[in-house]
Symmetry: C2
Subunit: 130 residues, 2 copies
């Protein structure tokens, strides 16, 4: 049981605690990437994507901006800079009665940023699969 999903998510991001994903993700969580249409179903693949994101996006310039939270839904807007390119995005998070995340969707703007993240995430996912 997680009493405050978003508070726990923030702790996890701050500490780059990829192992902590196990506890916060539901077994049947679905991940929606900013790049690809097809949803990625299940905890293993979602962990793979979020671990890559924790490493790729979460540098010293990473910060959350607006947070809009209502019921069991949150939208956390973030900003980071990679290779001099400003990346602005949202983590759209839904959780269940037990507080564990059931749906995680990421969107990114502008176009230049999504192209960069596409490239970097691809490289990171390849490395993690090995």
């Amino acid at each position: 049981m997680i009493t405050d999903t978003i508070q726990e998510w923030h702790r996890l991001v701050k500490e780059k605690d990829a192992a902590g994903l196990d506890k916060i993700l539901s077994e049947n969580v679905v991940f929606h990437s900013p790049v690809v249409h097809t949803p990625q179903a299940g905890k293993p693949i979602t962990k793979l994507y979020l671990t890559a994101a924790l490493h790729v996006l979460n540098n010293d310039t990473f910060k959350y901006l607006r947070e809009v939270i209502s019921g069991q839904n949150a939208v956390l807007e973030f900003q980071t800079v990679i290779d001099g390119i400003s990346i602005n995005g949202v983590d759209m998070i839904t959780w269940g009665e037990d507080g564990r995340i059931t749906d995680f969707k990421v969107m990114i703007r502008p176009l230049k940023a999504i192209n960069l993240v596409h490239k970097m995430m691809g490289e990171m996912l390849e490395k993690n699969k090995k």
Copy 2:
């Protein structure tokens, strides 16, 4: 004074009431496109973008999905299909004490969709400028 900004926004989208943008937008509204980093400041340029969006995205398949609203912030997730390509996005809307929109940001996924919207919005904006 607008008592329910999001309700008024929904009416406007449903009726494709581009003229109604005048009433709902603050003079100093800032628009953030899914494609370009630089914010677009002021009512005239914001009206131009939102009018183009009302025409490009708002076809028979357009519908809103999740809505996360808190205080004077709303995130409205939408979905539409254009030329067989699924477009999933968010309208991130902030308003002032008078209910008028002060900030409007759009993000779109996946990559294929943002490329299509980039192309279509460009054509529409060119047409509207003439």
